[in-house]
Amino acid sequence: MMKFVFKVCFSACLLISIKTNAEIDILITSGVDNARPVAVIPFTFKGIGQPNQDVAAVVGADLRRSGRFSPMARHLLVQQVDKYSDVNLALWREKGIEAVVVGSVEALADGRFRVGYELVDIFKKQQEMRNGQLVTVDRNLLDSYSAVVSADDLRFHAHRIADRVYEKLTGERGAFATRIAYISVDRNLPKPYALMIADSDGYAPQTLYSSSQPIMSPAWSADAQKMAYVSFENGRSEIYVQDIYKANSRKRVAAFEGINSAPAFSPDGRRMALTLSRGGNPEIYVLDLVSFRFSQITNSVNSIETEASWSPDGQSLLYTSDRGGRPQIYKQNLASNRAMRVTWEGSYNASASLTPDGKTMVLINRTNGIFHVAVQDMEANSLRTLTETELDESPSLAPNGSMVIYATVYQGRQVLSVVSTDGRFKARLPAKQGEVKAPVWSPYLN
């Protein structure tokens, strides 16, 4: 039965991918039994011609990708309506659908579109007094919203609608209207290495920087305006910062003797953690982006310290260190400078980061020689593997902590994959050509 569900969503996704012509297509590799059944009815279109985007398809794909929802296949939909007042609650109740998304797209004279949407809770009832009598009434409209957007922004706006739906139905902020950055490697090109930015579902990829030499470790600034990354353009690892929306804004921020790597902006955007081996040994430093002063955070004689990530409060750093013989995760408070080892299971733990609530750590764990994305409860210290893929690396959390994007190898190629942080939902975002790696999820975009 699950297989059938997969088939349906598989073909639905294929349809979407043909329409959107993205460089990356999402293929669902593992679904969820208890995802909530919802329906996203195709938005009606008012105007001449066709809108350039299928808004409902984007919303549906987002909801499915979260692992929390199972949108009904289009051919099974029992109504084609575009307003709350026309939604036949009884009909949807019969099908066990919990919520219905309806909406419309209207072409305006100036070339822009008016997008309207309503979210209907099929089961919600409320009691109220009518003529002195307590009666039960349907109180089903959860959200409604309308906006005017340019043709270019229409598809991204569909992600904003998905965010609203997600938030109304789960109580958590959605993270679909976000972007991902990643490195693509296509050895057939004169400049094989490229730093790319795309929508959170891989759509609309744009090249931020390309090079004949490797690029690695992209990192978003807290305001999502800048990217830091490592470039080998001068024959060695150096750290650059580039404003995403300004031309000629590339700045080299670290080019010391040895390695300059693993940049990570602080949550307040004023500092950057990074790894330098200028003293002979790779250590974690914090660069004050205002005064441009470096302060050394770790100081070890013979071990590697790298891959710093900030705790959500900006008070501590998590990093990878092999001071105990093998790479493990340590947490160090920046005020006290006291470091604590936090991983104990497996012979290799690295690339750690914390969810926004600070309760869960996402990391790469090697057990029996296989590298998996794993999560660890920070209180219980229990480690759980999320993936069945091998050679996983570079896990990055969505800003709401609900999903993890990571690089893995599938059928001999490096590809991006996503897994829900609870491990219940998995999808793959294979590139059309070449290999893709080092994905990083953006902060919320405002």
């Binding site: 490797p214 790298t306 891959e307 570079s394």
Partner: protein
């Protein structure tokens, strides 16, 4: 552990140097005996092999190989790699080559995280540099750079590719 290994390396190099030292002594002796005092002809090299030249030729052949390989998660140079580095060191440490500079690149296979591998690649490059220096190469002749897992020799994702990719590469400047 590594000191013992380095010690072994020393013995090999020391004996090699001794051998060459003897060879050059023999060379000067034989040259003196062939010089005829009365004749003013330019001495013609006899058709025999000059041990010094032969040593250079052998060394040059050995130095055609410029890659040493490592085990997973490890930065110690294996015996085969050590012998190769000693051949390079023999050349680099000659006084007339004191201006020759080499770059040592450290590389990793794709397993593990890119940032950790960048640091591991640096360890490998430095391990190679250390052996070269212990064999008489000046630190000013060696540059080290790590590429981590970013520049695989073989970009496929297999055990045999990984073996090729865990490596240190020497390149001569100029």
């Amino acid at each position: 552990m590594s000191i013992i290994k380095l010690g072994k390396g020393f013995v090999i190099v020391a004996s090699a140097t001794l051998m060459f030292a003897c060879a050059s002594k023999q060379d000067s002796d034989s040259q003196a005996s062939t010089n005829e005092p009365s004749e003013v002809i330019t001495p013609v090299e006899p058709p025999r092999v000059d041990p010094e030249v032969e040593a250079r030729r052998i060394n040059e052949e050995k130095r055609e190989a410029r890659t040493v390989y490592f085990d997973l998660d490890d930065d110690s140079v294996k015996p085969a790699g050590r012998a190769l580095l000693e051949a390079h060191a023999w050349y680099l440490s000659k006084p007339e080559n004191s201006g020759v500079v080499i770059t040592v690149e450290g590389h990793c296979d794709e397993r593990g995280t890119p940032a950790y591998n960048l640091a591991l690649g640096e360890r490998r490059a430095k391990a190679i540099a250390q052996i070269l220096m212990l064999n008489g190469v000046s630190s000013s002749q060696i540059k080290t750079v790590s590429y981590g897992e970013e520049k695989p020799a073989n970009p496929s994702h297999s055990e045999s590719a990984w073996e090729e990719n865990r490596r240190g590469e020497l390149s001569y400047e100029g």
